[in-house]
Amino acid sequence: MDNLNENTQDKKPIKLDTIDVTPIVAALLLGFIVVALYVILRRRSVGRRDFLLTGLCEAGKSAIFMQLVHDKLPDTFTSSKENVGEYVSGHMSGRLVDIPGHYRVRDKCFDLYKRNAKGIIYVVDSVTAQKDIRDVADSLYTILSDSATQPCSVLVLCNKQDQTTAKSAQVIKTLLEKELNTVRDTRSRKLQSVGDDEVNKPIVLGKPGRDFEFTHISQNVQFYESSAKEKQLSHLTDWIDRML
């Protein structure tokens, strides 16, 4: 009995010394891993999960937004504020932001959301695209040349295909490429603005010395047709689902 007691007493201090270190290290490691995982996951979930609906006034952004998020097709007017909603597909979800198209508000609003943008949907009114090509190209160029949007995928959605006079996606693509070439030219000759704004200097798009093509730029640009009025948005939903 005495021996036994002695044995146990002898073992205790040894045990304490050897075992004490490993569980602490293990616990610390585990804790560190958990924290790291949490931070990584959090950053992933916070950063870049938005899909921005941009484009000029009356292209049909709000209508598409309402269809995707609420599955309704109400009348819409000019937006003076952005609409934000959760787009759910299966068990995945992303945030859909409808940026107003009016000149007075859109730049400010776009600046607010561009850093979290994963995908940008540029909605074009296919009926008036040819007439308004200068405005369409100008605003598209502003979006594409922004340094914050370089990692985004871009979808140019040619809306209002239900109308008979609507241009096809291919035609709009050629029109836009031609016009963006001119815009790139005029932008390079633009006056410097008051106050130093060197920090976020816009990027010159495409390959210098060659005509502008969508394949030249860092964003992946795709063209699809749609009609919000006749609920033909499958291209758009497929595109978003692929990115989720």
Binding site: S62, M66, V69, H70, K72, P74, D75, T76, F77, T78, S79, S80, K81, E82, N83, G85, E86, D98, P100, H102, Y103, R104, V105, D107, K108, R134, D135, D138, S139, T182, V183, T186, R189, K190, L191, Q192, S193, V194, G195, D197
Partner: protein, 628 residues
């Protein structure tokens, strides 16, 4: 009578509408949003006209929705203000509990409430037409729905002011309007009068001394009202029996009482308490009516807010969710207004901007950690950015390329008051265009000021020296079209454009004589110049040093361009050149004043004396130095 009533979010989604005529009013509402709400002009009136239609609207900042009613312009509907307010209350009551994220998702069944509110509003307006029944129906309505009650209160307030004034001047008792309630009051008045007479008889001298004190306030008030003529001073605790006439309220009292009762139509409820008072009756009735109003408001409030759990509401009281009212905002706005004025924003514009901020914040929920000053600052920054952001694309080079492709020159006309730097900045813009490979024709249409043509000739020579024809495929980059002094400017400009067209010149810059905005003949000739030549761009040149004068200049320039042009669609100013920007440090208010008045963008900014000192405006930099 209302063609179209709609509730839509600020995001532009229609939540609910009622369309009587079946027509499409989207364009009307769109022009309301673009012309008023996005331009920060929603203070001037909540009323907007478009073609033959008129729109009255109301913003709800708590739910972020807008209520708008469209009707024919020819019909004057005076109940719309109250109607929209009631509709807002009813809407908040029904849908206020919906979470912000689900607001777009749910269906809005509002037809029944809408009908009720509308019929109530119509009834009220009819009642306003024929007041006789007012008092009785008021009592009835008090018992009925609170929306009606709130409306009655609002309805009766404005007329009360008018009544008061009238009644002060003419003493004849009750107008026939309020006949149903005259008998009891008359009786009581007689009693009160008799009592006073009796007292006067009993203590004729004492009265003056004794009563003067309690009457002091009312006498002073009366004197205030009758400031028109100078009156002998009446000292407190002084006077003699002669003054008794002045201090005698026997004639005054019923009048005052009556106007109070008419104002509030509360006579029925006040009967008991007022009867006994004979000294301070008017004051008391005042108090009473105030109390009544307060009670009513409380009643309204309690009805408005559905009772939540005691504990929850207790916490809600502590933890934020405070709604901003106009009176909360006022001090902060006042400060902001002064700040803007100190930055050289025209005072009129500063006031309008602050009002606009107030309307956009009123009724908004405030978080726990938000201070009003910060919210106001944020909202103001947002409005300023919105005002300075152009409402259309400005890309002169692109447009010039387009007209070059169409084989015609791109024409820009410069106008402005004297000495702001029209010719100097024209030369700078000319330099910029040459650098971008356009050849330019300068039309010297300032045929008035001595040396104007010579000045342009010197510029032309300099610019040609800087960009010799040899460098540009033997094209002369800049030419001057001059016809001496004292000729008709419009004619010279027209010839210049024709010359440019023939010789394939890309851009024509037309320099005009400086003119004061009040000089009618000169403004007429400018209008003619623009009408005849139909330029692509009319630029107003204004100096950044200008303060309050900016408003007058731009308003009058725009006005006369519109008035003196016989065109149906006159070409008014569509861009601004802001000069002498280097001289003002951070007092950049003129930029705001000018863009706010015209709604047009600042296309160029002149920042110095050399040809290269031409810049574009940076909205964020300007707003930052404004809010600093």
């Amino acid at each position: 009578m209302l063609d179209f009533v709609v509730v839509f979010t600020k995001g532009g989604v229609v939540l609910w509408n009622s369309n009587e005529s079946g027509k499409n009013y989207a364009s009307c509402i769109n022009s309301l949003i673009r012309g008023v709400i996005l331009e920060e002009r929603n203070t001037e009136s909540k009323y907007f006209e478009d073609d033959h239609l008129a729109v009255q609207f109301k913003l709800d900042n708590e739910l972020d929705v807008i209520f708008a009613a469209v009707f024919q312009k020819v019909i004057k509907l005076n109940y719309l203000d109250n109607f929209l307010a009631d509709m807002q209350v009813a809407f908040q009551e029904k849908f206020g509990g919906v979470a912000a994220t689900e607001r777009l998702g749910i269906d809005y069944e509002f037809e029944q409430e809408f009908r009720m509110v509308l019929s109530a509003a119509e009834k009220a307006s009819v009642k306003q037409g024929k007041v006789p029944k007012a008092m009785r129906s008021y009592n009835e309505s008090q018992k009925s729905k609170k929306t009606v009650a709130s409306m009655m209160q609002d309805d009766k307030k404005p007329p009360s002011v008018g009544d008061k004034r009238v009644n002060i001047q003419e003493s004849p008792p009750p107008p026939s309007k309020s006949e149903p309630m005259t008998p009891p009051r008359n009786n009581s008045d007689i009693i009160a009068e008799n009592r006073r007479k009796l007292r006067e008889k009993l203590t004729p001298t004492k009265k003056a001394t004794m009563d003067s004190k309690p009457f002091k306030a009312t006498v002073a008030a009366e004197k205030d009202r009758e400031r028109a003529g100078k009156k002998p001073r009446v000292w407190d605790l002084g006077g003699n029996s002669k003054d008794a006439v002045l201090l005698d309220r026997s004639k005054d009292a019923p009048e005052d009482q009556q106007l109070q009762t008419i104002n509030n139509e509360l006579v029925g409820t006040m009967q008991g308490s007022i009867r006994d008072l004979d000294v301070d009756s008017s004051d008391d009735s005042d108090d009473d009516s105030e109390e009544e109003e307060q009670q009513q408001q409380q009643r309204q409030l309690s009805q408005k807010k559905p009772k939540t759990g005691g504990l929850l509401s207790y916490f809600k009281g502590i933890v934020g969710a405070k709604t901003m009212t106009l009176s909360d905002l006022q001090p902060a706005l006042e400060k902001m207004r002064d700040h803007l004025i100190s930055k050289n924003v025209a005072s009129e514009i500063a006031g309008k901007l602050c009002d606009s901020v107030a309307t956009s914040l009123e009724g908004k929920q405030m978080g726990t950690f938000d201070s009003i000053a910060n919210m106001v600052k944020e909202a103001l920054t947002q409005s300023l950015v919105r005002i300075l952001s152009p409402k259309r694309r400005i890309d002169i080079i692109r447009d010039a390329l387009e007209s070059k492709r169409n084989g015609r020159p791109y024409t820009i006309i410069f106008c402005g008051v004297n000495g702001v730097g029209k010719s100097t900045n024209l030369a700078k813009i000319c330099f910029w265009l040459i650098e971008n490979d356009f050849n330019v024709l300068i039309a010297a249409c300032d045929t008035f000021r001595a040396g104007a043509v010579e000045q342009l000739r010197t510029h032309t020579r300099h610019l040609n020296a800087l960009h010799p024809a040899v460098k540009h495929n033997n094209r002369t980059m800049v030419q001057l079209y001059e016809k001496g002094y004292g000729k008709d400017a419009a004619g010279i400009a027209m010839e210049a454009i024709k010359f440019a067209n023939d010789t394939k010149i890309d851009v024509v810059l037309v320099d005009t004589a400086g003119r004061m905005q009040d000089n009618e003949p000169l403004m007429r000739s400018l209008s003619k110049l623009i009408k005849v030549n139909n330029p692509d761009l009319v630029l107003f040149v204004g100096e950044a040093l200008v303060g309050n004068e900016a408003v007058d200049q731009l308003v009058k320039f725009n006005q006369s361009l519109a008035d003196y042009s016989s065109n149906e669609n006159p070409h008014i100013i569509d861009g601004i050149v802001l000069t002498k920007f280097d001289t003002i440090d951070d007092k950049v208010g003129a930029a705001i004043s000018m863009t706010y008045i015209t709604g047009q963008p600042i296309v160029f900014v002149g920042t110095g004396q050399t040809y290269a000192d031409l810049k574009a405006i940076n909205v964020n930099a300007v707003v930052n130095s404004l809010m600093k």
